[in-house]
Symmetry: D2
Subunit: 348 residues, 4 copies
């Protein structure tokens, strides 16, 4: 199969580096363009940015010259890990110029005609793209993936819709990698908990999840009626967002039915066997002290969500703990899955 | 004022060492007896146990010979930091022999005639002691303090009773010192979260809190009707349990009224100006990223509870974050406050 | 090629689990026997021990019944991750019964006829085995790998012998996984440094390194004359031992010659292309803030040693920093490399 | 005694906050001036900077308006915790304007007529000030304290000069607070070691220590002839720099003589009983796993240095481990001690 040439916007940042790492041996996509700020432009990647991941920086990326993130020389498909302070303008410029922008940034997530995709959950939302050109006047398209914590929560909640999902009260314990680089100062987090995450993290969880779980009707998304309440905290963990969740369900199925709904849950990525798709998006762990970031976040290359501790909640109906890798499943990995889906759907 | 001689049961353990540290310069109590297991008995304290706290081990305690924890040579008042595997038997033996046992262990907490005391909250529960001798056949008495996480939560909830406190859904992020020593292996917790705490931690929070907040009637405690749901997690923090709390209130007061209820909350220890009483049991922090264990757990010598982030909860009525020092306010410090209260009440 | 059946002694411990993880997809060796203490015997592995590694526990190992570690039903080749308190007796029993024991334990390392092997460095020391039977009266054999810190140091020093290596003064910063499980209590190490490692760690580095770097003459090892001084510390790092090293060299080569000696260093595992051999045992990193445990310890599957910061030492001749993965290259990985070498040499 | 009015330059930074904390209840000095960058000027301190220390921010400092750090309205005595990028110019401006600048910055440390003071070690170096005005043309004066790691090392080495101190080979394990705020990104240091500290840390240790230990002759310092070699590393520790040290001594005293030299070491601060002086600058700990940052860095209010593990070094003569609190003894605390000494010497 011919390789698809791709670019990365915001290539030097934390998410950009994760894109590079995950695309290193990708069967379909080849990184042919690195876009970043003017400060980095003109330098080889290895000089423009310190490589901050344990995996090896591919030699051909290391040597590639970083360009100013602007349409012109970039491939049609670009992944965006741009900081939200600049993503709005730059992504629009690329979309206007005819690019397919698969973005991890928050700027366009809640736009009516922009899919907020987790392909395992709402692949059909891609059909929003039909209306996007008309609405936004772009010849290209923007597709987004949700906030890193919202992805974990939405994936865990998706199979519960069949039981009449009414509410979800969530407290998260989020990893430092979610804050990018330099991100959280070590003085603030070493041996500490910060009970707040800036940039509207709690609101993102509360609003994005409803759109993700919503249904496509008449060219727009009908939000799922689930009511959400989130408290987000930062903990001294490298990778892996943990969520303590209490859910209200209209029906009250036995626990076995819930676990079964989780472990049998499958979506388009599994049907299509997309390269980045985990065989089973949700794994249930029976041990009472799991899931744990160190042991479980990297399951299936960081694309598997781990759930555990399902038990009745004295206030809601059930409570459980969910965990996912925030920079892979919660960011670059889901973005790549989005592009894989679009490629297979003939949308590239 | 003549000094009161006191003993410490379980003196070599984590809570025992915290007792020693807090009593080092106590204006009323002098440590004259150290009880521990047979393995330690007969050795000077400095040889029986490595001192694991940053504060200095007092020389006279260091040189004192540890004895087998058994009544006989101990002062009338003994503090117990015994492991629950042995506390049941040993504390009963002391109570039977006429001692006042002020215990941090869980074994007798839920007994009908045993006060489960946080003096700032329920000093009147001491009157349960009148019935204790008859019920349990002891010439001495046992008074207990609650579980370390329950203390933080109960203190934060106590002033909310006036608003018709109906429910509290809690997720905790608990420090490693709560697990004693050697406690949590570093391999399990360094850079990790363990979403479970053994020994029935969640149930303790759910049941003890109702007793603490309950009212004394007819020689027994009527549990407070608040419904609780707790998920407890362990995080890589040295000291300080954080709780993310959503509360249901029958009345729905404005936030200012809630904050006012917290910061004006006072109990007997404040009225009596007991030596270990913080001037204000509950402090409200207006910064949106507080309270934090590293910055706030040691407020007022570790006896002050810090609360922050009060805001409406889309599911319950309000949500907030509370924090307290788990081995001081959550254990030895409250036990000492219990003894101070009893001393001033003439119950020693 | 027919698979070689192997057993693991001490299978439930930290090193035992690392053996299981590394052998999961091994091209030659198949785990057919799990030996542990009587407490575990008779149980399936999944019940006998909590799996503590991020990699997946292979299903067939999970289901395998653990046996008491005693010769009888074990394959000829057994890997030992036994605790040193029991390794002496059990390994001797296996050797006496004709097994090839490839051990990570310290008990026999300094025996005259027991090879202390790092195959990249001293593969020829295997010839000691000729004399082992006569000396120790065993029909089987014991081969050992060095202490985890000594492996890192010896590998970094090996190529410097050509420059007249006279002395090495070392301070290590060692990961907690080196202490096994439960190992270091989190209370002792979270946000802390412990400037001491028990069990004679410093002496092991000082004595084992001289044997490893020594030369084989007349059926015995002549220790290398390098003089060593080690200070060992424990730091809150999951995996990866770092060593700050100052070396005295009789010749004083330019830095380029030293770096060249490191990066061109190769041994039998590389010549034979053994399955666990890294292509290049020693990698030199030019960035001034490397090597780092998080970024570099897992290089080449944890088998590559990373070196950096070579510069003149005002007191010795040169100083540098070396790093290796302590439970892979420093333990199970080198043991497996030992067995691979023996297999290819026809010694199994 | 009348209070001495003092100012703090760089008041919002990490060292500035440490000055504020340590001066909160100072018997002689009252903070009447806070100087910082223009960005902070005009705001109350509480708005200009987040308070990042566990100790309480004094109310009167919280409410004080920060001014641009420039001479004019500041008290005669100013403490400087300015960043070295601006300290050179600003401190000179204050000195020129007649202020006594007691600085923690590195800019003037190695100037011939600027004392590099640890009052316990080289109080007599204050006499350099006689020549400072002539040399630098200032009506005021600048006095500096050494680099945080150099202070720990110099204090531990000072009593060894009597044994013919020839060499010291040092590897440090330094706390993150030494890097200021925001300082080290958590992504770089959580569960990690960085074997390098920027800004010439190693060179500072190697050069400053010789000046500190040097002797005053003819109006200038004769460097001590000790030869030093330092490797500096950053470890995930909040406070407390640990140093592994090997020393060469011309005489080879028995270990008891060395320990005795340490524990009996006293200087002018002890003779004068200065408010910030620890009763004993150096404490020797007999336990083999001490000193440790968590347990020992805060000894005597963070002003005491802890030493342990003295033993023969196979390469140098002796080796040991030393530890001190890097932002107290290693920075603001020693600066305050410098000012106390000058006050008592009548130099303010």
């Amino acid at each position: 199969m011919p390789q698809v040439s791709v670019g990365i916007l915001g290539a030097t940042g934390m998410v950009g580096q994760q894109f590079i790492a995950l695309l290193a041996d990708h069967p379909w996509f080849t990184v042919d363009y690195l876009g970043a700020s003017e400060r980095s432009a003109g330098k080889q990647f290895r000089e423009a940015a310190a490589w901050r991941l344990p995996s090896r920086l591919p030699e051909e990326v290391a040597n590639r010259v970083v360009e100013t993130a602007a349409p012109g020389r970039a491939p049609k498909l670009v992944f965006s890990g741009l900081d939200s302070s600049v993503a709005g303008e730059i992504e629009a410029a690329f979309a206007r110029a005819g690019h397919i922008v698969v973005s991890n940034s928050r700027n366009y997530r809640m736009f009516d005609t922009v899919p907020l995709l987790i392909p395992d959950v709402n692949a059909d939302h891609l059909r929003l793209l039909d209306a996007q050109a008309a609405a936004l006047g772009w010849s290209g398209r923007i597709v987004t993936n949700p906030n890193c914590a919202a992805i974990v929560i939405a994936l865990a909640l998706a199979p519960l819709r069949q039981f009449g999902l009414r509410s979800a009260l969530v407290t998260t314990l989020q990893a430092i990698s979610g804050a990018g680089y330099p991100g959280v100062p070590s003085w603030d987090i070493l041996g500490n908990v910060i009970p707040h995450i800036g940039g509207g993290e709690e609101e993102k969880i509360e609003t994005e999840t409803r759109k993700i779980l919503g249904s496509l009707g008449q060219g727009r998304i009908e939000d799922h009626p689930v009511r959400l309440s989130a408290t987000t905290t930062r903990v001294p963990v490298q990778n892996g967002h943990t969520a303590s969740v209490s859910v209200g369900l209209e029906q009250r199925p036995p626990p076995e039915a819930i676990i079964d709904a989780w472990i049998t849950f499958k979506g388009r990525p599994q049907e299509m066997a997309l390269p980045s798709a985990p065989p089973q998006p949700l794994v249930y762990l029976g041990e009472q002290n799991r899931p744990q970031p160190l042991l479980d976040a990297s399951r299936d290359g960081g694309m598997g969500i781990s759930i555990g501790r399902l038990r009745p909640c004295p206030l809601a109906d059930y409570k459980f703990v969910a965990l996912g890798h925030n920079t892979i499943r919660g960011a670059a990995g889901t973005a790549i899955l989005n592009a894989e889906l679009m490629h297979r759907e003939g949308l590239l």
